[in-house]
């Protein structure tokens, strides 16, 4: 046991500014104790905000359970879906959640391959976010099946009915894409955790804690040969996760694009869905990590550099999304197809026109503030913008799903979609479920990759050495 007393640093730790990914003065031991200390902190010493937040999320989990109970007991009729709007909140929320998950994979895999050193302190956190977001996303397609207890029929397995799923359908592609994505995210996350679990095993003060972490760490002992294979496996997983993350949201967009509904049947959907997914994912990372670094006093580990970089990526992907919207509008006019042009005109001015206006405001107009450096470096402003973008991305999916469906080809089959309290309850409930998992994760596992921060310490020591030798 190395640390005798575990507590958060008493005074407020300053942020080292937009140029550093780690405060100066950290060494291998101090980063281990700082990051591990958050987990080993006794529950009674947890920040009050953590306790209140976890409790509120738990209430929302109960709301989710209740809504699911009503759904299973009384059926899909408790939701607002109807004909023609057969895809309501379930698909809106599914796409929203799965999109949020994508930033985790982007940060951990793509930024790893691009050697972006600022990913280090936030990758573990965003990978956890990915896993929990995929868990929330996966719930909705199952809930909206009508008979959710038969969800396993989606998988190809030999059965007594001699039936097989239809593998030419994008809905079946979705089953494979989402389940592969969930599994690979879990593998990636767990492999990243193993060396840190070994650290937790060695710094934990109590025997029962040591035992739990020892089992999870699989006996990791930091052998050089193990590290060599470990890094190769991690690099390969990053290389595999990169095309995977692009394919998953492409397949999700195929759910729409392969159909012949005006407003869905466009080739621009895959790239613009992927950009939107990353956009919303970065927004969610910022929404969560800004309070977390404040509550646990981790401004020296998650710095303005991380927040500003994420904000820049948000701005960039947001512009791709804006391009997607404008091309969608342009082609519905340029195609000359009367169904397409009616659909878009109705989307902007019809009964759901206000959602489109809000979407443009939240996703395109307001985020342009991120061009201003002062805004990017003001923590609360970035946080507020990240919430606005989260709302905007949810509205995007609502607009795509609902406005494309509610005016069918024949006016006799036009309809309106009004979500019921169970729709809202299920949606709010999954947010609670997601947040509760995040709250528990922060308390149970090191939420920043300790060994990768050690690499940053090592790297910075090297640079200082070279600087000294040059002088």
């Amino acid at each position: 046991m190395i640390t005798e007393k575990i507590e958060l640093p008493p005074e407020q730790i300053p942020d080292p500014g937009p140029n550093r990914i780690l405060s100066p003065g950290h060494d291998y031991q101090s980063v281990s104790e700082r990051i591990g200390g958050v987990v080993l902190l006794p529950l009674v010493n947890s920040p009050k905000k953590w306790l209140v937040g976890a409790f509120i999320s738990f209430i929302f989990v109960n709301i989710l359970m209740f809504c699911m109970y009503v759904l299973f007991f009384r059926g899909i009729g408790t939701w607002g879906v109807n004909i023609p709007i057969g895809w309501g909140f379930a698909i809106v929320n599914f796409v929203w959640w799965i999109g949020i998950g994508h930033a985790g994979t982007l940060i951990s895999a793509i930024l790893f391959l691009l050697k972006q050193d600022w990913r280090t302190s936030i990758n573990r956190f965003s990978e956890a976010m990915t896993l929990f977001a995929v868990a929330c996303a996966g719930m909705f397609p199952i809930l909206h099946l009508g008979r959710p207890w038969l969800a396993y029929w989606l998988f190809p397995y030999p059965n007594s009915m001699w039936l097989w799923p239809q593998p030419r359908s994008p809905l079946e592609w979705d089953v494979f894409a989402v389940s592969t994505y969930g599994t690979v995210s879990l593998v990636f996350w767990y492999i990243g955790l193993v060396p840190d679990l070994a650290t937790m095993r060695d710094i934990a003060p109590k025997m029962w804690q040591k035992k739990i972490y020892a089992v999870l760490a699989l006996g990791w002992r930091g052998s050089a040969i193990h590290w060599h294979r470990y890094q190769k496996a991690y690099l390969l997983l990053a290389g595999l996760a990169t095309p995977l993350v692009l394919s998953v949201h492409t397949v999700v967009s195929f759910d729409f694009a392969i159909s012949i509904i005006p407003g869905w049947h466009t080739t621009i959907f895959p790239p613009y869905f992927v950009a939107g997914a990353i956009y919303s994912g970065f927004a969610m990372v910022l929404t969560l990590i800004i309070p977390m670094r404040a509550w646990y006093n981790m401004r020296d580990l998650v710095t303005l550099r991380h927040i500003e970089s994420a904000a820049k990526l948000m701005l960039g992907t947001g512009l791709i999304v804006a391009y997607g919207y404008s091309m969608e509008a342009f082609f519905s006019w340029y195609s000359g197809d009367k169904y397409e042009s009616f659909m878009y005109w109705n989307r902007m001015t019809g009964p759901y026109g206000f959602t489109y206006a809000m979407l443009i405001a939240c996703n395109i107009a307001i985020p342009q503030l991120l061009w201003i450096k002062k805004v990017r470096q003001t923590i609360w402003a970035v946080w507020v913008l990240s919430i606005i973008i989260n709302i905007g991305m949810w509205l995007e999916r609502f607009v795509i799903v609902v406005t494309s469906l509610h005016r069918d080809f024949l006016p006799s089959s036009w309809g309106m979609y009004i979500p019921t309290k169970y729709d809202w309850g299920t949606y709010a409930g999954t947010i609670g479920f997601f947040l509760l998992l995040m709250f528990l994760f922060v308390r149970m596992l090191p939420s920043i990759s300790i060994f990768e921060v050690r690499e940053v310490v090592h790297h910075e020591a090297h640079e200082r050495q070279e600087l000294l030798e040059a002088q």
């Binding site: 291998y28 030419r168 060695d202 052998s223 060599h228 190769k232």
Partner: protein
């Protein structure tokens, strides 16, 4: 710990020395390799570039395993879909061909990624011999810092050049601190 009476060679896992920085550890490993030691392992709390090579590790087979896993996944996924649509459940939709392979690409791709990712994890852990709850190096109390801030070199007793006293002296000569024998 060297005062522990560990006389027969079977009771000794090896001789261990502690270092403060990765650079010292690499230098020590290189010297030990040049001295003719082959059965040894270095332990570090972070991946250190060139450390595995310094103790003579050459063949990393993880990438090859992942390639095999990916090929199996792609072939298996595609074969499954062909079998479903052509043999097990042929379904005539407006006279379109049963073997509609372009529609199988997404699932084939996902199966390839899934199997290669699982292979990466399993092959890495299997070749590393993990999970391994007990290992002699954990007998040294100081070794818990191998996952925090210290660097260790352990020359193992199965090395033909290993002699308890001679190897300890050699490690002291390399500048290692806390030089001890590791009970097996």
């Amino acid at each position: 710990m060297s005062q522990l009476e560990l006389s027969p060679l079977e009771d000794i896992h090896g001789a261990m020395a502690e270092f403060d920085t990765p650079e010292e550890l690499i230098a020590a490993c290189e010297k030990a390799y040049a001295e003719g030691f082959r059965k040894m392992d270095a332990y570090a709390p972070l991946p250190v570039e060139g450390l595995a090579e310094a103790i003579g590790f050459k063949r990393n087979k993880v990438a090859f395993c992942v390639l095999i896993g990916g090929i199996c996944g792609a072939i298996g996924g595609f074969a499954l879909l062909e079998w479903i649509t052509v043999i097990a459940y042929p379904h005539n939709v407006g006279g379109r061909p049963l073997n509609s392979w372009p529609a199988y690409i997404p699932i084939t791709f996902e199966c390839m990624i899934l199997l290669s990712a699982l292979t990466a994890m399993i092959s890495m852990f299997a070749m590393n011999g993990l999970p391994k709850p007990y290992h002699p190096v954990f007998n040294i109390p100081e070794f818990e810092r191998a996952s925090i801030d210290k660097f260790f070199l352990c020359i193992e007793s199965r090395d033909p050049k290993f002699t308890p006293d001679g190897t300890l002296d050699f490690l002291r000569g390399l500048g290692g601190k806390e030089v001890t024998l590791v009970p097996a």
